[in-house]
């Protein structure tokens, strides 16, 4: 079992690739890997309830840890109380922690 941190910086309303990226996270988790999807920049937009939010909640149910960069949330005026189920705010330090621990860190 490998440990992955996947960074998603794009908004699904802006890039159709994003939904494929979510699928990568899902597939890796279903294959038994430990997966964190870390949302940064415009990638945090679906963390606030929208037509694409359910997919993030579903990922959480599939054992993907879904985190949203606190800085990016503040920039976009998304309060932690507005986050959909399964998404938690986190500091960017999480990514550096993962790199230092040798996890596979991939910017999607």
């Amino acid at each position: 079992m490998a440990k992955y941190v996947l960074l998603e910086s794009r908004d699904p309303f802006d890039s159709g690739d994003t939904l494929h990226d979510y699928q990568v996270a899902s597939d890796l988790a279903k294959a038994g890997n430990e997966v964190t999807l870390f949302l940064v920049q415009n990638g945090v937009f679906p963390a606030r309830k929208s037509a694409h939010s359910e997919r993030l909640s579903q990922l959480a149910k599939e054992n993907v840890t879904v985190l949203a960069d606190s800085f990016a949330l503040r920039e976009r005026a998304i309060a932690s109380g507005e986050l959909v189920d399964g998404v938690k705010a986190a500091e960017l330090e999480v990514v550096v922690d993962a790199m230092a621990a040798g996890h596979k860190t991939i910017w999607l």
Binding site: L92, V96, A98, M99, A101
Partner: protein, 138 residues
């Protein structure tokens, strides 16, 4: 520090173009504050981040003078991160892809940077605890 961490980053976006640059520099800054040893391989447009001739400018549209506008310069951000790393016992080995530099005419880079080749990225990744490639996208 016996278990000192070593990280490698590859960045490809030029200055003032994409939020990825800010996120990349935030990550590098976090590692600098921890005193990690880092290699940053700047590729493609990323080599312009450390171009020494970046200049502040006023904003005449908003009526802001040079001093008031205080335009941010990526070369100053990078220099600041390097200083942070040094102050915390770490280092930032900033390597600009030589071919990318020549293509763009940005050979005059700030102190503390050097020219290199993609093979340096591979070597750094091999020697690192973790590597993050931040690719440019359309």
């Amino acid at each position: 520090m016996a278990n000192k961490k070593k990280l490698t980053f590859c960045i490809m976006d030029g200055p003032y173009e994409n939020a990825r640059t800010v996120t990349a520099l935030r990550l590098i800054d976090i590692a600098a504050k921890r005193g990690y040893d880092q290699t940053v391989f700047a590729y493609e447009g990323g080599v312009s981040l450390t171009f020494a001739k970046q200049e502040k400018h006023a904003n005449s549209v908003q009526g802001a003078s040079l001093g008031v506008w205080d335009h941010p310069l990526p070369r100053e951000w990078v220099a600041s991160i390097m200083e942070t790393a040094r102050a915390n016992g770490g280092s930032v080995d900033w390597i600009n892809c030589g071919l990318c530099v020549d293509e763009r005419g940005v050979g005059e880079a700030i102190e503390g940077t050097r020219r290199g080749a993609p093979s340096h990225l591979l070597e750094a990744a091999d020697a690192s605890d973790g590597t993050l490639i931040i690719g440019a996208r359309g």
